[in-house]
């Protein structure tokens, strides 16, 4: 599949089978890519052309083992936020590499994953700075239940000569179950002096004080943990432009973390 967005856009694309796709973005817009039942592998090449601005969200609803391989080329002054939302009770391998080709290229890669019971979520993400004054941000949030296996290799790679560039990353993992395994490897490979870079990561159980506070207002342990989990998953919905779709996805989130949608009690 090949697609070129030459005008402003706001579109939802559904993938129902294995796909190799190239999408070129020349203007401003947002894209929701829903990976539905039937797909087990997606190879996607995104070309973000000069001065384009985009918000792109890949939403996993495949309900079976999935492998995503995403390559992103970012040209001069192109700005983009790309996210991966995955709350499925199935294994996922997610590879993503962004090439910041020309100055002013600015990308934020986000992921929000719910490590359901006995699932494996393996991620390998890299932003490669190939030009000066390029900006790369990574924000990876996940919530793990019993025996979930989560891996996140997040690599900010600034090559020599890419002065004035910035690479920042945050990974936060909330562990709610037992016997889960979380491995987070933040990497900063920097071959230039005049740059800014940072990484932050937290892995841990919910804060006891926060849980007590929520429970003191009448929420059960499960509801309280659900609310805390929502805090990890919700930020990625900023990539969805359509309010109705956003609300629907949010209800799905609440249900999956144990809140059972608006107004329902657990």
């Amino acid at each position: 599949m090949e697609k070129v967005y030459e005008k402003e856009f706001n579109e939802t694309i559904y993938f129902d089978q294995d796909e190799i796709a190239t999408i070129t973005i020349q203007k401003t817009g947002s894209l929701l890519m829903v990976l539905r039942k039937g797909i087990s592998s997606l190879k996607l090449h995104l070309k973000l052309e000069t001065d384009s601005q985009s918000k792109i969200l890949l939403y996993n609803q495949s309900a079976s083992t999935l492998s995503v391989d995403l390559e992103v080329e970012v040209k001069k002054d192109a700005k983009s936020k790309i996210g991966f939302l995955d709350m499925e009770e199935s294994d996922v391998t997610f590879k993503q590499k962004a090439f910041l080709k020309e100055s002013g290229a600015d990308i934020k890669l986000m992921s929000a994953q719910l490590g359901q019971v006995d699932t494996s979520k393996l991620n390998d993400i890299e932003i490669l700075h190939e030009a000066p004054h390029t900006f790369g941000y990574m924000e990876n949030f996940s919530v793990l239940f019993d025996r979930a296996h989560y891996e996140m290799v997040a690599n900010g790679n600034i090559q020599k000569g890419c002065y004035g560039s910035q690479s920042h990353q945050t990974t936060r993992v909330l562990t709610l179950g037992k016997d889960h395994k979380a491995q987070v490897i933040p990497l900063l490979l920097i071959d230039e002096n005049d740059v800014k870079a940072s990484h932050a990561q937290t892995i841990g159980q919910p804060d006891e004080e926060q849980l007590y506070y929520l429970k003191s207002r009448g929420l059960s342990q499960r509801q309280a943990m659900g609310l805390l989990s929502i805090g990890y998953l919700l930020p990625i919905l900023e990539l969805v432009s359509d309010e109705a779709t956003k609300e629907k996805m949010r209800e799905e989130m609440e249900s999956k973390v144990g809140l059972y949608g608006h107004g329902k009690n657990s």
């Binding site: 006891e208 004080e209 926060q210 207002r217 009448g218 309280a224 609310l227 929502i230 107004g263 009690n265």
Partner: protein
Amino acid sequence: MTELVIKDLHVSVEDKEILKGLNLTIRSGERHALMGPNGNGKSTLLAAIMGNPKYTVTQGSIKLDGQDVLAMEVDERSKAGLFLGMQYPSEISGVTNSDFLRSCINARQEKPISLFKFIKEMDKAIQQLEMKPDLAHRFLNDGFSGGEKKRNEIVQMMMLKPSIAMLDEIDSGLDVDALKIVSEAINQCQKETDMGLLVVSHYARFYEYLHPTHAHVLVDGQIVVSGDQELIDKIDKEGYEWLETEYHVSARKEETKKRPTSIGLCGAKRG
């Protein structure tokens, strides 16, 4: 008529006994002021009633209309009608105030609250507390000033309509104007719900606004004297020292934590 009855309550924190046989009864419509020197158990009492897991009840009973509060989980206590406005409310990023409060309201009733009714009630509470209208959409206490956090506790109290509300130094961090606003909101809430109030504060001015019906002084884990507004006035003028001679008690002194000694140098080499 709701009645919270505390009998012979002993509470420990990390094997150290803080409350040593405390008795107190609070009924609907009453306003109890709880005073005492720092570190003598006021906050411990409130936290133990609410069920903070850090506090262990070793002896005694707490009953709410005959129900054994100590046998309840924290959320069950809240649903039974207890509310604690905390001294240091938690900050929870990612959870908006409105989502949080709707979940809390829905957790305590059969049918979920209608969105229209919820928004109306929340707007009313926000206006009464003179908070910024965007409060509903901000993350719970995240980035709030000290005063905003305290006001937000009162917003929650107004929305949850408890039968017994406990307020732990809810006036600290509030300026004079905010103190008046918060007091009026508490008074209004009590007028509407007839809740019983247990208020911990060091400031006579707060009590002036709230007009307590009862006042108690807690020293070394026990209530040593109870009274009314006169007692509050006396403590405001004379402090707590007279209690030690008159009631032969000795206030527990707050432990001062040792600060690490600074050697005035940084080991890291500056490049």
